[in-house]
């Protein structure tokens, strides 16, 4: 047993440890700060990122060992780069055509490398400004020489995080949801994330939000027409009722979208998985087996793991943040009891709970001998006894998915093992249960299959291809929008439709913030949507005397 825990296997087919650095914070507000592009409109954030024009450059391809690396330059100084690094005199090269070129250091005059050069005059470029790309050979020697060369051109500086994308947004090349799509694409290192980011960049989300915005706009306009014109004009009766019905529809749509079990956000930031169980059932061994390396210290002494140990894995293309926790038991030892408290806390905030049970545990024996009680009940009883799920939270929507792993099956007779396998499979309706051994690694394929199924349920929207909510900023504005829509629905019953209209106008502004087509200086919407509203009014009603 002791030996077994030190045997690490690399599950290449399904699992490999990755260099992903996902944020482990769950607060929707904090999280977005971890991303290079941030458009939440806060003054402080903007000041920090310092948008102040100038010409920027950056290594746009991944660094390190590679065949080719790409440098991008954007801004009014691109002409200088062409002249000084590319040594073009007179006419600039033909736009958007790859040209083979030798690159020189402007100060020393030394040749650095040979490669391809592309010139994209603004506004027909990614950022809308003049741009060029240098495709040079891989390797850090070349990249540092190029960085030195470009940096020596006066007015050029290395780009801040996401600055290219921000410039394209500011120059009207992309809308905000698309920008965030690109930012996520840059971060996406796993297959599932790449798919989602691509879909968002193609504008599926943008389309969804635009449709809501249009619907809100139309109904705001109709209510406004009722306020400004119904007294003297032919505004059809029932226009306010129609507005109410439509708004309730939008309200429900947004509500559904927000309750997508946070699928998109999980995919972007990682699924939280916690391994819990009694002491010494093999939780840390499971973590190490999954990682293929000794992340957690293991020993036969109960209570070896004191704190939560966290590591990020790629499982079947899904980013998963795995937490190993202290074994759950009553203890008077101060340090260990703090570990137990943390373990319970972590188990509550997780998306997936892997409960590890020693197959020889008395409860397993009771389950087996009872002959008819369901595996589902067994699992929920087990959770209660471990103290990780209280009765109240059982009905909770946000309750984590649970996978039960009956570990150490190599330590029971084969006949008993088969009997147990038969029981958990035959008597389980919903519960995900499996039997295996971290020592022999028998049954762990089955465990990973179960885990993959759960991940799919959590992250993929299998029913439709509808875009998922992937961004905290979207969620924030959508929640606000929903708040105002609800206020409108409440006000609808009162006599004063002005208050209802006010709520609706504010809901529309929140929706406009999602697509980012509003100008902000100190973080508030200064663009009046007034003219859009009037356009709808005059289109839909015959106003006039």
């Amino acid at each position: 047993m002791l030996l077994s825990t030190f045997r690490f296997t690399y599950y290449r087919s399904l699992v490999y440890s990755s260099v992903l650095k996902f944020s482990t914070r769950k607060s929707p507000i904090d999280h977005s700060l971890d991303h290079p592009v941030n458009h939440r409109g806060s003054d402080a954030v903007r000041r920090k990122t310092g948008i102040d024009g100038g010409t920027i450059f950056a290594l746009s391809s991944g660094g390190g060992k590679c065949g080719v690396q790409v440098f991008r330059v954007s801004g009014p100084g691109v002409g200088d780069v062409l002249r000084m690094v590319g040594r073009f005199s007179g006419d600039p090269p033909q736009p958007r055509k790859a040209i083979f070129r030798r690159f020189f250091h402007p100060k020393t005059g030394q040749e650095i490398d040979r490669g391809l050069l592309l010139w994209f005059p603004g506004p027909s470029s990614f950022t809308g400004e003049d741009c060029c790309e240098l495709h040079v050979h891989g390797g850090s020697a070349v990249s540092s020489a190029i960085i030195d060369a470009l940096g020596s051109v006066s007015g050029l500086r290395y780009a801040g995080p996401g600055e290219f994308t921000r410039r394209s947004f500011q120059n009207g090349k992309l809308d905000l949801t698309e920008v965030e799509g690109i930012a996520d694409l840059i971060n996406a290192e796993t297959e599932a994330q790449r798919r989602l980011a691509l879909r968002q960049m193609n504008g599926a989300l943008a389309k969804l939000y635009a449709a809501w915005k249009d619907k809100l706009l139309k109904n705001v306009a109709h209510l406004e027409a009722f306020i400004d014109f119904s007294e003297e004009e032919n505004i059809e009766d029932g226009v306010t009722q129609a507005v109410f019905d439509n708004i309730v529809e939008v309200q429900q749509d947004i509500q559904r979208h927000l309750q997508d079990s946070r699928r998109g956000e999980r995919l972007r930031t990682g699924v939280h998985l916690a391994i819990v169980g009694r002491p010494n059932v093999g939780k840390s061994s499971l973590l190490n087996t999954l990682c293929g390396r000794p992340v957690a210290m293991v020993s036969p002494v109960a209570g070896t793991t004191r704190d939560v140990i966290e590591t990020t894995l790629n499982i079947s293309g899904y980013p998963v943040i795995v937490s190993d926790t202290a074994g759950l038991r009553h203890t008077n030892e101060e340090l260990e009891s703090e570990g137990v408290r943390r373990a319970i806390e972590r188990s509550k905030s997780s998306d997936i709970l892997v409960v590890v049970v020693d197959v020889r545990d008395a409860s397993v024996q009771r389950f087996l001998s009872s002959g008819h009680s369901s595996a589902d009940r067994f699992v929920s009883r087990l959770l209660r006894r471990l103290g990780v799920v209280t009765l109240q939270s059982e009905g909770d929507v946000e309750r984590p998915e649970v996978i039960l792993l009956l570990n150490k099956d190599d330590l029971i007779p084969e006949r008993k093992r088969l009997e147990l396998l038969h029981a958990i499979q035959g008597r389980s309706r919903k519960a995900f249960c499996c039997l295996g051994s971290c020592y022999t690694e028998g049954g762990l394929d089955e465990f990973l299959n179960l885990l993959t199924t759960v991940l799919q349920n959590l992250c993929d929207d299998s029913s439709t291809e509808s875009p998922m909510l992937t961004n905290d900023r979207h969620r924030l504005h959508l929640v606000n929008c929903l708040k105002f829509l609800t206020k409108y629905v409440e006000e609808h019953r009162s006599n004063d439709c002005v208050l209802g209209a006010e709520a609706l106008r504010r809901a529309l502004r929140q929706m406009a913030k999602v697509t980012g087509h509003v100008t902000t200086v100190t973080g508030h919407v200064t663009t009046t949507t007034g003219d859009d509203i009037l356009d709808v009014i005059f289109n839909d009603f015959c106003i006039g005397k």
């Binding site: 903007r46 948008i51 102040d52 024009g53 100038g54 009014p76 809308g128 410039r167 500011q170 120059n171 009207g172 406004e224 306020i227 400004d228 014109f229 007294e231 003297e232 004009e233 032919n234 009162s494 006599n495 004063d496 439709c497 002005v498 208050l499 006010e502 106008r505 100008t519 902000t520 200086v521 100190t522 973080g523 508030h524 200064t526 663009t527 009046t528 007034g530 003219d531 509203i533 009037l534 005059f538 015959c542 106003i543 006039g544 005397k545």
Partner: protein, 595 residues
């Protein structure tokens, strides 16, 4: 009044209240000349109530002239202005300023010198009247156009545009069968426009009626069959979408029947103004169209409707004081800035007047923010977005509609007006009195608290044990408790303050909106902060590292604050950040609108 014989309405009524709060005349004159007063939108919230009145045209003119001739230090002259008296700009002016206006030159060649000049050309600037296929140069029927002045504005470098508006035919009331039209009655207790008046001049029962009738299929056919005879429709100059001619309404919404309001022109006039029938068809077709309409089968047309096309100055060329960027000391107000309507014109008139005086006295300009007035909203819209069609006020243009109400225009503006010198001592004293009465009423309401269970027994509602305290102010904010009931329940506390109906109504409105207002205060403050960040008038946009489009827009509009710059379409975020570096916080002492 050269178009319809009515003042006010939704949004427009708000403007009259604000003009009155600044001691402008039109509200007070309307209280002396109305023949049919009606508060519009009473079934909606008080924030969008619209005071409106049919006005006796002759009476209005008489009362207005009486008031003007009694005004001290006012010299009235009537003559056609042909040109501006221009000189070199002062040395301190920035490079965008081309001239300095010293007065005007009349048609007779005589010059009138002035420290500042306000142009209010109405529809006269190269005005052209259109009836059918005929077009005649004229400012309105019977008056010649102002061609010389248009030329001089053109030559001075202003970007001019062309707009059109129209007026319906006038009918002989004696030939109309009113018995089959739907009458519309005036209010039993007319509400005066002016904060200075407690009642209007007319006996409520002596008010005139308006009538409503509808167009029908025959009207549609007549217009369709004769559309080739209509120059205005063929040419398609930009007309207002909300005041379309009957032709354009019929062409766009063919299947509908359209309202026609029959409005009296006055107590001693038989003329009827058929509102909704603005028309530029040939005269004989107009007569035929009219006779298709129920009640108007035998109606005789006294004067045909016609369209007017005229020049206007793109208002992005004026500052928020209504002074032009190009010519110092020249102010523009009214239709010349692309607006339509008496109220919009009057609001700009008083505003330009105030600023013309301040300029003459070398004092800083008087400005009003979007957060405090409809006048501010209008001027900001005009100077930022320009006018692609005649601009009319609607309540939906105001972001802070629940604050910018007709009932509190005096509290919003009168003190400011008094400080700048346009409000009389008398009015300021009255406003102070109202303010103090209202304040003490509101504190009474807020201080009077009793447990919810007590309120419920007071109001005969099912009993409840809640002992949470609720103030009278909270209670009247909803629909459950009226001020009258409250006064009856606790006469010892509220009997006296609620004996003043104006104060009790205003208190009720304050309570209704107080919660929503609190919620909006943050947005108001944010916008005010941006409005305080001032951009220097001589900012060299050419040298800034911003996008070409932003540069062009900024150079054209020359916004005065960051808030204004942020609203300009095409000015992007990075440009704004660059602008912030060149902006400075407005000196508070210098700011007249801070209170």
């Amino acid at each position: 009044m050269s178009c319809n014989p009515a003042f006010g309405g939704i949004g427009k009524g708000h403007l009259i209240k604000e003009i009155d709060a600044l001691d402008g005349l039109c509200g007070r004159i309307c209280d002396l000349s109305g023949v049919h007063y009606r508060m519009l939108n009473t079934r909606k919230g008080p924030a969008v109530w619209g005071p409106r009145a049919q006005i006796d045209r002759a009476l209005y003119k008489k009362e207005m002239q009486k008031e003007l001739s009694a005004t001290e230090n006012l010299e009235l002259m009537s003559a056609a202005v042909d040109n501006l008296l221009l000189g070199r700009p002062t040395e301190t002016a920035h490079s965008g300023v081309k001239f300095n206006c010293h007065g005007v030159i009349l048609e007779s060649g005589q010059t009138v010198r002035a420290k500042s000049v306000v142009l209010t050309t109405g529809t006269f600037l190269r005005g052209e009247i259109v009836i059918g296929l005929k077009s005649t140069p004229a400012g309105r029927i019977g008056d010649g156009p102002a061609v010389g002045l248009a030329k001089s504005l053109d030559e001075a470098g202003f970007k001019l545009g062309r707009l059109k508006t129209g007026t319906p035919p006038r009918l002989d009331g004696k030939t109309i069968d009113f018995s089959r039209a739907t009458p519309s009655l005036a209010d039993n207790s007319p509400v005066p426009f002016s904060f200075m008046n407690d009642r209007v001049w007319i006996e409520p029962s002596k008010q005139l009626k308006c009538y409503l009738t509808y167009t029908n299929k025959a009207v549609v056919d007549l217009i369709r069959n004769n559309i080739h005879l209509n120059r205005a429709v063929i040419r398609g100059t930009t007309g207002p979408r909300y005041c379309p001619s009957i032709e354009s309404k019929v062409l766009r919404f063919e299947e509908r029947s359209h309202q026609v309001w029959l409005e009296p022109e006055g107590l001693s006039s038989d003329l009827i103004y058929p509102q909704g029938m603005s028309c530029t068809m040939p005269e004989e077709i107009q007569q035929q169209i009219i006779n298709c309409i129920p009640c108007l089968e035998k109606a005789v047309m006294v004067r045909p409707g016609y369209g007017v096309e005229y020049d206007y100055v793109d208002p992005r060329q004026i500052k928020s004081s209504l002074e032009t960027h190009l010519i110092q000391n020249l102010f523009l107000a009214g239709q010349i800035n692309g607006t339509t309507g008496y109220e919009e014109a009057a609001a700009q008139g008083i505003f330009a007047g105030i600023n013309a005086v301040l300029k003459g006295r070398a004092q800083p300009p008087f400005t009003l923010s979007r957060t405090e007035s409809y006048v501010g909203v209008m001027i900001d819209d005009l100077t930022t977005f320009g006018a692609s069609e005649p601009y009319r006020m609607f309540t939906n243009r105001a972001e802070f509609r629940i604050h910018l109400r007709p009932d509190n225009a005096d509290l919003r503006l009168t003190e400011k007006g008094f400080r700048v010198g346009c409000v009389s001592e008398n009015r300021w004293a009255r406003t102070r009195q109202i303010r103090d009465d209202l304040d003490s009423c509101l504190s009474l309401l807020k201080d009077f608290k009793q447990p919810v269970c007590k309120w419920r027994t007071d109001l005969d509602r099912p009993e409840q044990t809640s002992t949470a305290l609720k103030s009278a102010f909270d209670m009247i904010s909803g629909d459950y408790l009226s001020v009258e009931t409250l006064a009856k329940l606790h006469p010892e506390v509220f009997g006296q303050v609620f004996s003043n109906p104006v104060i009790s109504q205003r208190a009720k409105i304050e309570a209704m909106y107080s919660h929503a207002l609190d919620e909006q205060m943050e947005e108001v403050e944010e916008l005010r902060r941006d409005e305080l960040i001032q951009l220097p008038e001589d900012l060299e946009y050419e040298s800034l590292n911003i996008s070409l489009e932003s540069k062009q827009k900024l150079m054209e509009i020359r916004p005065e604050t960051i808030a204004a710059a942020a609203r300009i379409p095409g000015v992007n975020q990075s440009a704004l950040v660059v602008l912030l570096r060149h902006a400075r916080n407005r000196n508070r002492g210098q700011m007249l609108s801070s209170s």
